[in-house]
Point group: D3
Chain length 245, copies 6
């Protein structure tokens, strides 16, 4: 099957726009390098992250969800990723065992080589840590031989937490700075699909520029490598390697 | 010069045996891959880590130091690294500005692609954190254009803290597990050069086996990669990359 | 409406007496300064914090709850605050979505200028962190345009965690010391309403005196301001200001 | 009753083998000293920790559970402890109020002088922290006069978290090193009952040796006490004592 | 004296440009509100933060220092603050008792109502934490009646750590967001005095915009207050207040 | 010698009164149980902790020191401990190698079974952490065979940090609560020797009562043990034991 012969990645987004601001560069970069990247949006962010739509008046949850669905699909398209929607509701996001198994089944199907999701804490947003923990637990279940015995279990793909809106308040500390300079145009095109949150376009452009400067600083100013845009990630597991340079 | 055309690494060891237990695998592994690895021993550990010698009776500090010098040189030889001794004294290790500049000058000369040193805390051993901080500050000074202007500054090589004797008590958390299976025999041969601390041979053999099991667990039990021996490291700076898998 | 023209505050208490020991001073102080302060007691503490009543014999949960209700109402009265009881049960306190929405609706109704609740951790009491997290999440939901669209959303009022019984064990670190000297008599009168927990009266008197000394120390012994009694609080969000003195 | 006249301990294990690797020494040691030690296994680990069984083919959850039940019972027998199984399921372990009360009732019945359970965090295993939190909350409920009024409440027995598989990744830091040298043979016999996880036998033998060396180091190399094997524990509450030596 | 009748603030900067990027807004804001703000530059940053000058060739430390002196004086002028230079050297910055007393004497003279300095940790820059600790200790000494007995001791002015270059790597978490919108033009004019570090102008403009957005988020999107530019600070002591809103 | 046949303890106090407030109970308790307790005061606290004396006017450092010496000697006498004064100066306390060796020699002479000193952090007092670190390093040196070879080295006695003035601000978390009820009168008598700091008498009486209540809470309210006064301590090393109850 295609999935097995190709490298894959899985992105779990609490609301339908999170993956764009926070991981659009990583998605585009790995798609360009031949990965199949699959995105799961647990909710549309219909209640909590669609203020602009609700202010239009005569709005219903269905219309909001449809609009958010379209935007996210367009962004995924720009980035080159596949996308699915769990429609679990937001503010609050809640997950029962069936939701957990549904996500574990995606892990089994996708067999990701790495995973991107939210930070484990966020005092401004309780849906984000819930998504991160659900992702972590689904990964563990998909590793278990006794879950749907006979299916191919997954390995131990690294999990990276993407940058929250106010990083220091979330106890988030990046240990990976990803150089996304080569795909920035694509990320910004995806950002522009998010018509309902235009106030964030420039905010996340600046985030990318700051992480770019920091990445450059962390390879040394004497280096010839040009880095303009970056994304920060925090790993949840140690990296296994044979090379320290 | 040879140094420039070849990848290099620098190891800073508070006492003359630390590099063997804690980083022998990394040194051997990178030497085999073509790196020139250089070791600086700040002291011989003549007071604090030579109990077996002192118990022999009619011992002097000079004899202890000579014995430790010979052991460390033999171990470096086995591992394939060059070594030098600063002879700064131990228990307590203390560093003034001249020591700092001396180490900064080694950074300038070696131009290391990565650095290995101690953890930043160790309630059992105050020399270890001092060595780590001295290393960090020397690296910063070697990066400064205004220090010995005209010399080639160094880049921003990653710094890894190697495993202390009682890791949890030192707040040390490995984020890198190095697979040293292929060079274990060489590391154990270097360990055996440390005749004065034979009680530690099996201790650090077990450390290597435990980190090996953990490394295997962190790549997934389904993986075909065989890992028997490992070394753990904690990074002090974020890693800059274009690849998350 | 009155609520809109007046400054308001909301206190969320896991059990019906918590607000007295931990926030009685803040409540009285702000009531005196013109705030309308509203208290929500999630439970009566009927199981876990009514030992003296249960030891009387021939007691039922209803009698305990009625007794606790009366005490808490009397204390709120002394402090000048309004109070309501959710009667969600204690030991364990548990909250479902409806409880969360019920509390979010209180936020919408009260439109608080600040919020007081429990610390986020307490190894001696699992109801306290649950109350704190429920409060935080209700605040987030009450901020969302998509929750009960058309209602007035709340702003971003600061949240302060009040002092737990054994502060260091809870990882609680006060960053605000409130001078409650001027209202101490009122707080102590409210404390005396808690007939079922008389063993705590002197304990929390001493807490107030210690925090008072510390407040004095933090403004400097040279200051003319007299502070005798204090209450400590930990903020969960950064403070936005134009004044650093 | 026998329970009252004898010292007792309670061990809460998420899966049916955890108590062997992590607390077998403490159990055997205290049994030898006259304690009645009781073990509760919340699940059999049938899904997540029985890979070897599942790989045999034509396996069912019932057969796995029966096999794990037999192994755990044999191990408890070797150690001299009583054991019961809650069969709550694993991967994921989930607990509702009835599970909590069931465990609180065990606390009431056993009246333990100390408690052993899992660490509060484990990114590799979400069942472990859930077991630890369930244990902590059950202990709190069993302390409450208002829970099943009239029953004898429990005191405030210390709670110790046993060592997780990758300790540094779990933020686990031992503050107690238990000398299990005298009962090591018994612990290793119990370990050998775990036929389904033979790959862990040597791993946990090495853990015992490492903790033994560290215990020796923490009493001083000059001491005459011989310590070969150890187990590490992290306390969750301060220790009350009259003796600091 | 004028100093006593006027509110004052003290800024301690490790290198001669730090105060501009990190605290220029706070300085300008408080000057506009009538404070006398005094800046102490411990060094010129002549070695470590003057790369552009050194690259010009035929440069000496004296010329670099003179250039940095002029830039910093111009920036202080734009901001409306007084400035003095301790010329202690950088890379490494080192302080002996005399340096400590010299700074304590500035505290005594200025009698500051608040203090701004560096963060307590910075793995990229060892001079910054040294400056922060020197400032903290000088403040303590200036509080002591027994230091230069007879002089007026200082009170307990709050200390705020300003934002380091890579905040998460420094463990810095802002608990104060200062609205500097009204003085941004002045801060940017001061920034432009730093001809030698032009690459940082846009970096710190973006920092100000990001902190502005976050400040707005922390007062609530429904608020009428317009915040465009911000500066973040971390307090080292609890705040004493009578007002929680 | 007497020292060897008797249990001993060592207390290292930055200033001459610290041991009274913070460890008076532990000293008296262990003296009553037959320990020889020895106190080292590194300084008299002549500058920083003698405000009342300095305010008397026509005071000199010599008179202050003499007065502090007399008070501390009287307090040690009441507690039954021996005492010596290093007179290293305070505000700032500074230690060179000779000071370190002098303290290591006290360790060698006293051969303590446990050690009491300050917390490792204190933002209000830089002398306290310096004293704690000096003590820790002196203990390490006294353990080394190569320091003054031929002398009897010390073992690995536990180190306990006593309670700082504002515990949460110092990151101090007690893991030991010492029951000092039986010696409280003696501690309070020692406290009363500190005529120069009368404002602290009641503060530390309340500290003792609060820690007493917490100790009682941590053994369980159902226990028959009466605890009125307590002292809190934080251990720096794991405890080695064979008993978990």
């Amino acid at each position: 099957m295609a999935i097995i012969s190709q490298k894959t990645a899985l992105v779990v987004s609490a609301h339908s726009a999170d993956f764009v601001w926070r991981a659009g560069g990583a998605i585009a970069l790995h798609v360009e390098r031949g990965y199949q990247v699959h995105i799961v949006c647990l909710s549309y962010g219909e209640r909590g992250e669609s203020a602009k739509l609700w202010r239009k008046g005569s709005m219903t949850e269905e219309i909001v969800k449809a609009s958010r669905h379209a935007e996210a699909e367009a962004a995924a398209n720009v980035l080159g990723a596949s996308i699915e929607f769990f429609d679990m509701g937001d503010y609050p996001l809640r997950a029962d065992k069936e939701d957990l198994f549904r996500l574990a089944d995606v892990f089994r199907r996708v067999q990701p080589h790495f995973i991107l999701t939210h930070s484990l804490a966020d005092p401004y947003n309780y849906d984000h840590p819930l998504a991160a923990n659900l992702t972590q637990e689904a990964r563990i279940i998909a590793q278990a031989e006794g879950y749907r015995p006979g299916e191919t279990i997954i390995g131990a793909p690294p999990v990276y937490c993407f940058e929250p809106h106010q990083p220091e308040q979330c106890g988030w500390k990046p240990d990976v700075l990803l150089d996304i300079t080569s795909v920035w145009e694509k990320k910004y095109a995806a950002i522009q699909c998010m018509a309902g949150q235009e106030h964030l376009w420039e905010y996340y452009t600046r985030v990318a520029l700051q992480r770019g400067v920091q990445a450059k600083r962390n390879i040394g100013i004497a280096s010839n490598q040009i880095i303009i845009h970056g994304e920060g990630y925090q790993s949840l597991f140690p990296r296994v390697t044979e090379d320290l340079s």
